[in-house]
Every structure is written in C-alpha cells, then in structure tokens.
Symmetry: C2
Subunit: 396 residues, 2 copies
C-alpha cells in the first residue's frame, strides 16, 4: 500500500492558508505586542490608509458631549506609519488589567486583524489583551485545577419558553459526590448569560481564588436577565438578529417573579446544598437591581447578597407586585439577618448618588451591610474587581 507523504499535504494546507492570508489582507505583524516593561505596541499593516488611530480603555478617558450631558469615553491615540505599517506604543507601562481596544482607520472602526481575541459587549465587538500581575492574574487561565463551564437550557413555564444559562461547576465536581453552595451571578442591561464568563472572567476568577484557598468551591449560575429572550444574541431561535441594548422585559418584574424556577432547576439538576445559608445572589447594574428585588421578595432564599453598581429603584411607571411594599419587604429580609449584604460602586458611576441614598436609608433603619467603593464608573473593570472581593466572603 502506497504511502502518501503527508508533509506535502501540510505544505498544501499551509500554502492555502497563506494564500488566503495574502488574499484577505491579514497583516503579518504582531499586535498587540506586550513588552517586558508592560508598555504595549499596537500595529496595523495598512499601506493605503491615511489615518490610523487606536481607542480603548488603556488610554485616559476623554469627555464626550451628548444631549444628556458629558460623559467619559475611551481616549484615542494616533498611530504613525513606516513602510505601510502603522504603530503606536504606550508612553507608560500599563497597569495589570484586562483591556479592550479597536482601531479607527480613516474614520472606520475595525478590529485588529492580528488579534483573533475579541469579546462582544452588548452591540460592540472589541479586541482584548491582558496585562498580568496583581489582581489581573486572577483573570488569566493559570495552571490550576479548572472548573467546567456549561451552557444549559431549562424550562421556564412562567415565561413560556426554554431559556439558557451558564453554569460553572468547580474542579472536582464531575468525579466527586460532594454537594456545593450556589452563587447566582447576574448581568446588566444589554448583557446576557455569556457576559460574566466572557467580560467578567468569572470562571478564571473562581478557578484561581479556589486554587489559592481564598474561596470555597461553589457552583456559579449565570442567568439571562432579559425575560423576553431565550438566550444570548445568536444563540436562540432569533438566529443572527442584531443585538439590542434595551429589551421590553427587563426591570418590570417578570425575571424576578420567575427566579424561583431557576433555583428549583439548579437544585434538582446539580449536587447543591439547597439551603439559604448556601445560596448567594449578586449582579451588576440591572443585575444588582434584580439581586436586590429577588432577595427581598424571597427572604428565605439567599443569605449572601451583592449589589455591584446597582440600579436600585424601579421606574415609577412600572407596575409589578415585585416592587410593591418595598420597605416592608426589606424589613422582613433584614430581620432575618443576612450573612452578607454588600454594596459596591465606583465614585464616578452615574448610579453613585442613587446608591448613596439607598445606603442612607439602610443606615437610618439600622440594617447592616458591607460597602466597597472604587474609583471610576460603570465599567467591567470595576465589576471584575467586585467579583474578586465578593467571592472570598461567601459561604464561610
């Protein structure tokens, strides 16, 4: 039987790939290049471009005027061209962090063709890179035991559909018999059941904190808080419809009312400890709003509650039994002395004042809670920090 020299086949495949690269204009440059001193060089091969810029959260923010006021937006830096390759190197070392960026070529925003790593945040897709060290080492995949991440569908009779959630089970779950506490982790408006595992680096943070002995092994359940949807954009029967920042069934009571279905599904499907003392709930922005209202509506369900940059009060025009008798329900919840009620926010967050007022009310009533304040505003950098702070306090 004749042997085929497969090296030839490899050459053919590589050749095809190279031909495609040449055809498709994939730039044969390294970008981003993270130097040993943590400065970073961005490169784009674009001989025909007249202007190339980079924008991202690694640059100082700049003010942007809108009809609703002035806001901080990511800064913009110019790349300079030599022999068709545009380049920009940061003036200073970047602090450890997960950063996102895009290029702007002659006014058109594009992803970096040299960097295959992107994350979608609501309607924008950006490239990402990590500067390691300090807290950002928790965001990396390290050589530690890894938990599993599953995309799981459950039936929601009250919302009338199958819905998807993301479930992290800690290393050792699969081949063990142990039961675990459960942490429900909720996203913000425009997010979905992928947001915490992608932008939030939840699996990496849990893997690393558990491996360091700083967090209890736990199951983490990341739901989809848009009650009109089955699943994240592109992953439901809506197909590849364009994602939307605002959806009809958010913060109007449906998701909160249906939440016990999720807990029931998780308790019947996974080896959980199905008790209040072994359940936590936290979320960012709208997810903080959901966590606050769900935890007071079902005061025997969660012993650990986290509000990260939370929206607090419902729109006056929204009618739902969930939002009725707020103060009475809070009184019941706090009379039961939750193990942890924790509020975190950045001092430049547009919800900062609302959180101050909420804390003031809690103080006046004498309700105990933890408080953690950072700089900056309503951004994923803060939510990753809050997660790394919150998780070690759970189930201890």
């Amino acid at each position: 039987m004749k042997r085929i020299i497969l090296s030839t086949a490899f050459l053919l495949i590589c050749s095809l790939a190279c031909a495609q690269q040449a055809l498709w204009g994939v730039a044969p440059v390294v970008s981003p290049e993270i130097h040993n001193d943590n400065t970073v060089t961005f490169r784009l091969k674009a001989p025909n471009a007249r202007q190339v810029q980079v924008t991202g959260d690694f640059l100082p923010t700049q003010k942007v005027k809108t009809p609703y006021g002035e806001f901080d937006a990511p800064g913009v830096a110019d790349l300079t061209q030599v022999d068709g390759v545009w380049e920009f190197t940061t003036a200073e070392a970047l602090a450890p962090e997960l950063y996102s960026y895009t290029f702007i070529v002659d006014g058109l925003k594009i992803n970096d063709p040299s960097n295959v790593y992107t994350i979608r945040d609501v309607v924008s897709v950006t490239n990402v890179f990590i500067i390691g060290g300090e807290r950002a080492d928790l965001y990396k995949v390290n050589d530690v035991p890894h938990g599993s991440v599953a995309k799981v569908w459950y039936d929601s009779p009250s919302l009338g559909m199958q819905r998807r959630l993301t479930v992290y089970t800690p290393a050792g779950y699969e081949n063990g018999k142990k039961r675990y506490p459960v942490f429900y982790l909720l996203h913000g408006m425009g997010g979905d059941e992928n947001a915490w595992s992608e932008l939030g680096r939840a699996a990496q943070i849990l893997d690393n904190l558990i491996a360091q002995g700083k967090a209890e092994p736990m199951i983490v359940v990341m739901t989809n808080g848009n009650a009109a949807l089955q699943a994240a954009p592109g992953e439901s029967s809506l197909g590849y419809a364009a994602p939307s920042i605002q959806l009809p069934k958010t913060m109007e009571g449906s998701f909160e009312t249906a939440f016990p279905e999720v807990v029931k599904f998780i308790d019947s499907t996974y080896r959980t400890i199905p008790k209040k003392q072994s359940r936590a709930i936290a979320g960012l922005s709208m997810g903080g709003f959901h966590s606050m209202h769900i935890s007071k509506q079902y005061p025997d369900m969660f012993d650990y509650i986290g509000l990260f940059s939370a929206a607090i009060m419902p729109d006056r025009q929204v009618q739902s039994p969930i939002y009725d008798n707020l103060e009475e329900k809070l009184a019941v919840q706090f009379a039961k002395k939750p193990a942890l009620y924790w509020i975190a926010i950045g001092d430049k967050d547009f919800l900062y004042q609302a959180n101050c007022e909420y804390r003031k009310m809690l103080d006046q009533k004498g309700y105990k809670y933890g408080y953690y304040e950072t700089g900056e505003g309503h951004i994923w950098k803060n939510w990753r920090i809050y997660l790394t702070e919150f998780v070690p306090m759970l189930f201890k």
Copy 2:
C-alpha cells in the same frame, strides 16, 4: 424613600452607548440584510474609503496561484458607494448554507462592524450568516429541546497536563437517569475543541436531528487533537498567544496513544453506555486520520467509524507504534465487523486521491464500508453535511 426615575438612567446608558457608537464609528447600517428571496445585501458605512470589497464563500471561488500549485479561494466582489454607504447585493438567491465573509477596505481585511457574529477558523476571524431552508435548517437554533454544551477539563497523565474538551449532552440528560451512547468527534489541523461546536454547528445539528426523530439521543465529545496543547487558543495557560496552524504534536502518535484516557474519563463522568456497540468516532481531515488510527489501534472500542475528508497515511518520517503494522491492525478491526465504517470526501479535495487509494485497498481486502461523495473540497460546508449524514446512522 425617594424614587429615582430609572427611565433617566436608561436614557443615560443609551446615550453613552450612542456616544460610543459615534466615537467608535459603528456603522448605523444593516449588514448583511437577507431579503425574502434569499439575495443578500452587504453594507459598510465608510465615507473615506476609496475601494470596498467583500469576500466570502457565498461568492464563486477564484483560482489563486501559490508555490505549491493553483487553489480555489473565495471570490471577491466590489461594493459601490452612495452617500458614504457602500453596498453590494448578490445577483442571485443564495442556497441554504452557513456562510462566512469579510470586507476588504482599501486592501485591508476587516470584519463587518454591523455584524457582531464572527467565528474564528484557525488564524482567521470572519463574519457569518445563515440562509435557512433545506439542510441548513439543521444548522439553526430552532424551537426544539436543546442539549447542553460544556467545556470540561480532564487529567491526562500520559500527556502530563490538564486538557479541555467540549461535551454535548442531549436534552433530558440533566434531569434523567438514562444512559447514552457516546460519539467522539474530532477536528482538523489548526482546529481545537471548539471547532465542531462553532464552525461545525454540532449542537444545533444534534438538537435538530434528535428532535426530528432522525438520530438517537447521544453524548458528543469533542476533543482537542493537538497533544501539545491544553486547550483552544486563548483558553489555556498560554493566554492570548497568537494561534498557529501547525503544532509539534499532531499526527505523531501522542494523541492516539492517549485516547483511552479520554474514553475512561467520559465513561466515569457521564451516564454512558460503556460498550463498543455504543461508541462512535469520526473526524475531519487530521481528525479523520486520528479516527482511522485510533479505531484500528483499539479494535474493541468503537463500532462506528467516520472518516470525513480524512488524511490517511502517516508521514514516513514519523515513528510511533500507533502507525506500525497498519494492515494487520486493519485486518483485526474488520474481522470484528464494525457496525459502520464510513468514508466521505469532496471530489475536489486535495486528499481525494489518497482516499481513493485507501478505498481501493479496502475493496481489495473485501472490507465493508460506506462511501459518500460530494462536490467541492476541504471545507466546513462539506464537514457539516457529512455530520448530518453520519449521525442518523449511529447506534441503530
């Protein structure tokens, strides 16, 4: 307690998002737009561009010359500009299929900023869209019961590392007690444990075929066939290193030798039917090579074998006991009469001739196998087709 009108907060968030969109140049155009007659319009807002083209597998292929010969590459079409918006509409309706495309702006390949849906194929990231109908309806998320898809780590003592795999469990697995057959589904060179679930639409194909009663409910295990790696690019402790098309430990025996570890892990972790009659293995290209060599090396492990556009013979220079005594091992395997030995390939595949020679040898020996030939070459379109054909034949 003062109520905050959250509509205002929504406006702020939307305003910020719009500001970002304006800043980041996200094009406020719809692209791709799939018309009712299945023609498709691509649009890009790029007032400063001098030339905009689209390339993708929805266009007729064109010949590309390389040092190794002429190859078919995706075609290229020109967009025309009106008021800063470039546009191209296909002349004819597109056939049902999952298509991928990118734009080329003044020679620079970019992803479509109006389409957040992308898939990475080895070193290229392209946008995707689906034209429904016929077989392509199997590639869509439909309103049918959905299986779960998990990213799971297992310990590989022989490769000296934790490694990741993707596991599809059929709808009903979580809350049932039933045991299931297992189908091991392997990727090609440059691919990874994500390839079949992303480019291959494996979960959608399984969900739909099972819901239609055409396939048995089964577990599908998608491994990482690059024995030097823990996991897909970006998901291992290598961090966001650039992916490579060729790796040192592929097709040299390591992966095949270590394969029983995978089967052992799956059988000890999931509710499987741990018998030859309830195990299948198939793969594309290098994965077909792996399936062929693993199934003959362990002739009591798999009763269903699929070679999709398979590489067949090892490089002469590669030394591994796995590749020794090939004909004797095949004789043992076929003497045990596998329930299905199935070969599929496109008539323009660069491995077509090698597969003809392999089939000729099987014919000469009188070994029974199924054969399925399509048009075109070494492309995902064919591998999705082969999956939809192979799965209904399993475990019956």
